[in-house]
């Protein structure tokens, strides 16, 4: 079966600095993959390459079997046009560390914007679908509130609804709980966990080790722009092969 995400020999540079040095990994349908590693190991950059928020310089990213971002023209690697990029980005859903809700819109309109303007859905149908997802993340009662009237945890749950309502092939979470007050982390993790249990394909960059261990089918440990180790969470957390991962796990809190 075609994997939902396939990354082959991915390289990415910021100027002289190579931050991704040849990444290979796949995510199967329904799989939950957590990417862990120290700050600066390249995990967020990797995630951002999966929806073209970052350009990459070598290798391929395939979403649902489709190579994204670039195509070959007479042997040269050429970035595809803006409309194509936008279409390909909509194949993935992204949840950001800082929520990034549109501050001038209600929770509901945050969710319907993509449905009406990208998916071309008539507004009544978009509202129906948005209500469904807002209900699913426990935010239906506050659908008319502005982001500034919501707590961080509530904003993040709306952001999850906004991304997932677009029916992406895979959801990407970029440290989705790092900006939250400690007492708000639980409600967001709970939302993510229940979506995972329903079979949503997910890639999470996270510092929540316990969550990564409990929810993931696969854990990817990154170190200095490379994947140092990957495998099922039981093995990685209980019997890490590499001394690097052993050291990393020692300094991480569970």
């Amino acid at each position: 079966m075609t994997p939902i995400v396939e990354v082959r020999d991915l390289h990415k540079r910021f100027g002289e600095l190579e931050v991704l040095k040849g990444i290979d990994f796949t995510v199967a349908e329904g799989e939950v993959v957590s990417i862990i590693g120290a700050s600066g190991s390249g995990k967020t950059t990797l995630l951002r390459c999966l929806n073209l928020l970052e350009e990459f310089h070598q290798g391929d990213v395939l979403i649902g079997g489709e190579a994204i971002g670039y195509h070959l023209r007479r042997g040269q690697r050429v970035r595809i046009g803006e409309r194509e990029v936008a279409r390909q980005r909509a194949m993935t859903g992204m949840v950001f560390q800082a929520f990034n809700l549109f501050p001038h819109m209600s929770a509901l309109d945050n969710v319907t914007l993509g449905l009406t303007k990208v998916r071309g859905m008539p507004r009544p149908q978009a509202i129906e679908l948005a209500d469904h997802w807002l209900d699913r993340v426990g935010m239906l009662e506050r659908r008319d509130h502005r982001p500034s009237q919501l707590s961080g945890g509530q904003q993040q749950r709306v952001a999850i609804a906004r991304a997932i309502a677009m029916s992406p092939k895979v959801m990407l979470f970029d440290e989705a709980t790092s900006a939250l007050d400690p007492e708000r982390v639980g409600e967001v993790l709970e939302t993510i966990r229940s979506l995972a249990q329903e079979g949503m394909t997910m890639v999470l960059v996270t510092h929540e080790m316990r969550f990564a261990r409990d929810v993931s089918d696969k854990v990817v440990f990154m170190e200095d722009g490379r994947i140092a180790e990957q495998g099922p969470p039981q093995r990685l957390f209980l019997n890490p092969d590499s001394p690097r991962l052993q050291a990393f796990l020692k300094t991480s809190s569970f």
Binding site: L52, G93, N100, F102, G114, M166
Partner: protein, 221 residues
Amino acid sequence: MNYHFNFAPILDQWPVLLSGLGLGLLLALVSIAIGSVLGLVVAFASRAPSPWLRSLAFTWISILRNLPILVIVLFLFFGMPQLGLSLDKITSFIVALSLYASAYMAEVFRGGLLSVPKGLTEAGQAIGLTSFRIKRYIVLPIMFRNALPAFGNNFISLFKDTSLAATIAVPELTFYARKINSETFRVIEVWLVASLLYIVCCYAITLVLRAMEKRLVLEKN
């Protein structure tokens, strides 16, 4: 001091004074509208990828911001006919004020654009919006809200600058005040009335803008 105030000769002329005030407001409105459109273009140019566009935008802003408005007004009204381009005095003044406003509005919008966090553009990209739609539905609405207080200040300042139109005989409030002054010699009274009209009008504009801000400006969280 033993001055006998006599407002009667001035108050006799109130329809004229009010029409002058109305024309001043109209000049300011038209100029800020044109200036805002131009300013928006200049603001986007100042952040364009092309270095040519960027330096063009900054040249535009720095020339117009470093010229006294009166010089622009006189230059256009008296200078342009020499170059074969005669405009009537009202059009000429509107062009001058719009150009002047465009530089200030460009700065307002440039600040407004900078105030839109990059994460919001990325959130728009992530749901598959094209860059045009991101501007249309996310960047511009937020920018306008953030720019509203500065926009209001500029509007009031432009409205006051319309008094300079009197120098090229545009019949606005200052023009009529000067005319009544020389006809009646009620110097203090006429300028008191004119001042009061300007103050009341500016204050009313401030109140309207403040109400708009209250509704539209986004509170930070």
